[in-house]
Amino acid sequence: MEVIKIIGIAFAALIIIILLKQYRPEFTIYVSLLTGIIILFLVMDKLTGIINLLQSLANKTSINSTFLTLLIKITGIAFLSEFAVSICKDSGEAAIANKIEIGTKIIIISMSIPIISSLLEIILKLLP
């Protein structure tokens, strides 16, 4: 059922973009941006469901939750950056898209430093 809604919105946006292209090209970016947002909103509550499932699973077992929250944060960041990158690529600005990518990569790496350090710790503890 949800899928039909998404496809409907996408097609409507497509038609509008084609229509607007000959009159006002700069509006096409707005329309594509907006459809992206609407579709994401539709999917968002499903996503919260999934994340709650993950969290409940993690609580059952002995995994410490900091790792999991970090992981979810990273997917969130990737999620947003991918949204921006595809919009920039769409409107032809590959340079900006690249910059966004680099920025998010650095942020993700900086966030995952504690994990890497804990990994090294464990390996060192392992070695005799």
């Binding site: 409907g8 919105i9 409507a12 946006a13 509008i16 229509l19 607007l20 009159y23 006002r24 700069e26 509006f27 707005y30 329309v31 941006l33 907006l34 459809t35 947002i37 609407i38 994401l40 909103f41 968002m44 996503l47 919260t48 994340i51 929250t69 979810i72 944060k73 997917t75 969130g76 960041i77 999620f79 947003l80």
Partner: protein
Amino acid sequence: MDINLLFKIAAVGILVAVLHQVLVRAGREDQAMMTTLAGVVIVLTMVIKEISGLFNTVRTVFNL
């Protein structure tokens, strides 16, 4: 927060285009430019409201 927002933006776009055409034919290029800019700004504010909404929901979902 739904499809009608999309139609609203399309409508504003078309109206601005028509207005631009009319003003240009009436010989008032500068005003035509102004109306297009105004149209763009209005649509921009609408879209920005939506973007901020999206960012907030994503922040709460992924508790960034």
